[in-house]
């Protein structure tokens, strides 16, 4: 998928964590948290990365900005390979790529005022100070729906939703091009979730942002994303435009995920595909398709060989990794 409009292109990204044992800390094996992932995001678009806990979605995000070292692969951001960039380059890249975290209670320093939290990147990266700094921070605070009077308040004075707004302001203060949102609304109350989602959408339009949106809630992802990738045990099992994916889910795992979401329409009761089993341990992944043990369609070939992600069934730009999908 080489495309001039791509802001970010990840190809064959692998991040393994070594398991060390014994006195000499010998490496006895690897946890393949991310095992060969490829996707790209066009400028101004939102790619959703969905999956259950432990499937590797957060590790993908961390590998992209090199918070954890990737084992192999390429991450191309505007013609620069992030994974091989030197320190100076990396500093600049981290100005262009920022992160919004899940938990607004633990991701803000309780001893810093809002002004310092939001303004610190400006000080460090751009050397701003004094009234120029304050003005910029105040303007951004009102942009994310907080009062500029809050500039000297501490995080504990705010509710969860307001804290997440602070997190959003901090992420946007350096005018990044790509924002990685790691479960930005899953710690928030239902009535606050929609406020933050709308805010993120508005900011995307105003600043022309590109999002990598990580979530486990399929309904939120459908609303928010243009393209969706479903992950299972370190791999992408299905990737398609949001509309296409939700209309024609092809991978059995995607189908089970979708039907497992509790719906608010009581008339839909009892239309669920039952799911058996649990996510296997990443320490001893099964050979063959990782989903085979839980899959209702499993056959011999699934247990032996790992399916690759390929375009299937005459659907345009709809990629599935499954032996049983034609």
């Amino acid at each position: 998928m080489v495309n001039a409009n791509n802001l970010l292109a990840v190809s064959n990204l692998k991040t393994y964590f070594a398991i060390k044992k014994g006195l000499l800390r010998r490496t006895v094996g690897y946890v393949k948290a991310v095992d060969g992932i490829s996707f790209s995001i066009e400028k101004g678009q939102t790619l959703g990365l969905v999956g259950e806990s432990g499937c590797g979605k957060t590790t993908v995000a961390r590998s992209i900005i090199r918070l954890v070292p990737a084992t192999a692969g390429q991450v191309i951001f505007e013609q620069t390979n992030v994974l091989s960039a030197d320190r100076k380059r990396l500093g600049k890249l981290r100005r262009d790529i920022s992160l919004i975290f899940q938990d607004p209670f633990s991701s803000l320093n309780p001893r810093m005022t809002v002004g310092n939290i939001v303004g610190e990147p400006l000080k460090v990266q751009k050397g701003l100070a004094g009234s120029e700094l304050t003005e910029k921070v105040a303007a951004l605070l009102s942009k994310v729906g907080l009062s500029p009077d809050h500039i000297n308040s501490y995080p504990h004075e705010f509710s969860g939703g307001q804290r997440q707004r602070i997190g959003v302001a901090r992420a946007l203060v350096l005018e990044p091009k790509l924002v990685i949102c790691d479960e930005p609304v899953s710690a928030l109350d239902v009535s606050i979730q929609s406020q933050i989602l709308n805010l993120l959408k508005d900011l995307q339009e105003d600043f022309g942002l590109t999002y990598l949106f990580i979530a486990h809630d399929l309904a939120v992802v459908e609303f928010f994303c243009d393209v969706v990738a479903v992950m299972y045990m370190g791999r992408i099992v299905e990737l398609a435009a949001a509309e296409e994916l939700y209309e024609n889910p092809l991978h059995p795992y995607t189908r089970i995920l979708m039907s497992a979401i509790p719906r608010v329409e009581p008339t839909l009761r009892g239309q669920r595909i039952p799911s058996a089993g649990e996510v296997p341990s990443a320490l001893n992944p099964p050979s063959g398709c990782a989903f085979a043990q839980r899959c209702p369609l499993v056959e011999q070939v699934c247990l032996k060989q790992m399916p690759i992600l390929e375009e299937k069934g005459g659907y345009k730009e709809h990629f599935v990794a499954c032996w049983k999908c034609q």
């Binding site: 239902v190 309904a219 608010v264 058996a276």
Partner: protein
């Protein structure tokens, strides 16, 4: 509300916390009843008092600072709120059992799964250790744990999140309680595992005929699993209904707002509807109707700002605490 087949009825329950910063009125004037073999859901956002309501029923509110200041909790003809601690102990875990959100922190990490289930069984039933142990294996099998003879000797950390919640359930239903209180039982779990645990709850309910008080913030779970629902907001119940009619036609502006603000599968708008403002904190509840600062209907109404509406019967079996719900009465 007629009294036939009612297992538990909570009447005008108020639980307050007396803190240094003032009195936090966590639960105020809450009334509801749960029918035998039915699932009753208590739904609301964080801090609305749903967990404190459950803890009050179990008499597990830490005292001090907390205290049940008013109300009755009638369970099988007895008022639990006046029982002595000793009497309460024979109810807790035996007639009423509870499971919690985070199965890792509610299981004891230094005892095996078997030890913990056997302890619960022996505490309430006259059984020999070997009999209790055999029962525990049977319970684990019943909650869908494969190879229970081996699992029973394992420690909680050796189990996955879904399995720990199954163990919690095995322990909770081991004495065949009449009421199971499930406080956010699946919030810490993945959706596919969540569906499995909820299915298991349904199954156990069918087998034992127990009632379930399901506490959750997830309206989807309520719609799929509950027979009737109470919606809580800022320490009070604002709406009670059977779940079909609640989702078909929510009457309270808060319930309406919540349902509209949910992203749903198949929704294709560009923006979600929102409820403006934030959830109020228990120490700083607004006067009048607690929802009025966020309410699209009553935010400018003098009465909503000053007088708190009571939960009252409108339109058949439905209860709403809203001044504007009056119009439904007349219809």
């Amino acid at each position: 509300m007629d009294d036939d087949g009612i297992l538990l009825s909570v009447k005008n329950l108020s639980t307050h916390f007396f803190t240094e910063d003032g009195i936090a009125k966590a639960v105020q004037d809450v009334s509801f009843s749960i029918k035998k073999s039915k699932t009753f859901a208590l739904v609301g956002e964080s801090g609305c008092g749903k967990s404190v309501t459950a803890l009050s029923i179990m008499r597990l509110v830490p005292e001090p600072p907390g205290k049940i200041v008013a109300g009755k909790i009638i369970f099988e003809g007895r008022d639990l709120s006046v029982l002595s601690e000793k009497q309460m102990r024979s109810v807790r875990g035996n007639k009423i059992a509870m499971i919690f959100q985070e199965p890792m922190t509610s299981l004891n990490p230094v005892y095996t799964v078997g030890n913990q289930i056997v302890e619960a069984i022996k505490l309430h039933q006259k059984k020999s250790t070997s009999q209790a142990w055999a029962d525990a294996v049977g319970m684990l099998r019943k909650v869908g744990i494969a190879d229970p003879e081996r699992r029973i000797n394992e420690y909680p950390h050796q189990l996955s999140g879904g399995m720990r919640q199954r163990v919690m359930l095995a322990m909770a239903v081991s004495c065949e309680p009449a009421l199971l209180i499930a406080d956010e039982p699946t919030t810490a779990l993945d959706v596919t595992i969540q569906a499995q645990i909820l299915d298991l709850l349904d199954e156990l309910q069918k087998q034992n005929g127990m009632s379930i008080l399901l506490i959750t913030h997830d309206l989807g779970i309520v719609a799929e699993r509950a027979d009737s629902v109470a919606v809580m907001y800022a320490s009070r119940i604002v709406e009670v209904a059977d779940s079909q009619s609640l989702f078909a036609e929510p009457l309270h502006p808060y319930t309406q707002g919540l349902l509209k603000s949910l992203p749903r599968l198949g929704f294709s708008g560009r923006r979600l509807q929102t409820i403006s403002g934030n959830v109020p904190e228990p120490l700083r509840f607004p006067a009048g109707c607690k929802f009025h600062p966020r309410c699209p209907v009553g935010c400018n109404d003098k009465r909503c700002q000053t007088v708190e509406p009571k939960l009252r019967n409108v339109k058949g079996g439905r209860y709403v605490a809203c001044w504007y719900a009056k119009e439904y009465e007349e219809k």
